[in-house]
Amino acid sequence: MSVTDEMLSAYLDGELSEVDLRAVEAALEDQPELRDRLAALMAADAAAQESFAAIVAEPVPLALAAAIQNAPVADLASPAGHANLPNAPRRPAQLLAAAVAALALSVGSIGGYLTGREDGGARVAEARNWLDDIADYHAVYAAQVRHLVEVPADEADHIETWLTATLGVGVVIPDLAGDGLEFQGARLLVAAGRPVAQLIYTDTAGGVVALCQISTETPQDSFETRQINDFDLVSFGNAAANFVVVGDAGRGDLSAIAESAASQV
């Protein structure tokens, strides 16, 4: 039996029949040329995986995550609800309307810009600061229990390499054990249109604190504290990046945590 490249490809996928598998194995023993062909297919596979990995490493747009977080579920329990869902997808205009509606919901429930603020109207008109995005992200991701992080803490070396390469500035993982925080892992976010490293820590009570970092040409020269929605944020800068520590409003230790982090980055 002659071994085709298609069989070699299926061999890589573990999809050959017993008969073909034995034939390929035997041929690979005897024919160096066949091994070269297999090696070429494997190199192609590795290249494809690398390219696909680059796509999955891209930050997810906040608007997309927020649209899902705020998707309406009211008619789920009602059989009649399904009658409202045609099999064909909605037309682009309807899809756009849904996206706009989802974003509006996100401003209402995650952002909360129009509620509880005396200057609410003007606030929306302002250009969004990256800290606003960080607060929104914290609302989405701090609620994740099973999926709190994208890359877990035991891959700390990879996290630092990956995020340093993505942000273009050095990313290090500060040890915040002295502040009662244990590092859990990291995510890549996008805020103000730029990549942000989000390092996630938890305290013994399960509270989530994130240290976020963004490269900048105008680093902050002092610590600043502000509250956005239900979160306190303490921001600071170093030579090439701005940072912010974010956690639940009123926890009181974020300034100390920010100073610990600042001494290590």
């Binding site: 297999l38 290249a47 494809a48 997810v60 649209a67 890359v151 891959e155």
Partner: protein
């Protein structure tokens, strides 16, 4: 989970052939397969489903990108697929991993969209597979949008990239991929092979520089 079991016997004179996905991707993949069913209560179910969908977004966006070859179209498609899944959470067959269900919803929505585009272009109603083939033959447009795929895989025709992604990266067996893409198993085998041949030729042409 046939696809996750490696049936190949040891072949010590060859390098490890595949499944060399970066560790963090494996971590994301395994985390996306819920170990427990979602709650029966509608609201709780949707809340948990949303969490799992948000965690799965990078992989859904990648799959959608392999279908649409365009970032904005892919993100629209992913959002539509997730909203549909949330609205139909009670229809999810929990014997099926969530990612398999989501890939199916995403692919079906995209095929519907292609059919509608075809109708709008005056081509009339055509079969799903033909639609996809016609689409990939629009070389001018395809060349423009191909840049939205990364690296070497941008060189793959539109009918090959999603199948290679499913089999080589997402761990679909040929039978699972055949089911997802509604093509015979032999066609899955042939497309995966053609994709690898094209990539191998490109690697050879660029002197091994895979970027």
């Amino acid at each position: 989970m046939h696809a996750l079991i490696d049936h190949r016997p040891e072949h010590t004179r060859l390098p490890e052939p595949r499944r060399c996905i970066a560790p963090r991707l494996q971590a994301v993949t395994s985390a996306d397969r819920p170990e427990r069913p979602y709650g029966q209560d509608g609201m709780a179910l949707s809340a948990e489903l949303k969490q799992d969908l948000i965690a799965m977004l990078p992989r859904l966006r990648r799959f959608a990108r392999s279908l649409t070859r365009s970032v904005p179209e892919a993100d629209d498609l992913v959002q539509e697929a997730c909203l549909r899944a949330i609205a139909r959470a009670d229809q999810w067959d929990r014997s099926q991993p969530l990612d398999r269900w989501m890939f199916r919803i995403t692919r079906n929505l995209w095929i519907s969209e292609l059919r509608k585009q075809q109708v709008r272009m005056g081509e009339g109603q055509v079969a799903a597979e033909e639609t996809h083939e016609l689409r990939t033959l629009e070389t001018g447009e395809a060349q423009v949008v191909a840049s939205q795929l990364r690296g070497l895989i941008a060189a793959l025709p539109g009918d090959l990239a999603p199948v290679l992604l499913a089999v080589s990266v997402e761990g679909f067996s040929y039978a699972e991929a055949a089911d997802l893409f509604e093509i015979p198993i032999g066609t899955v085998m042939s497309r995966v092979h053609r994709a690898r041949k094209i990539l191998a030729a490109n690697i050879a042409a660029t002197g091994g520089d895979s970027r």
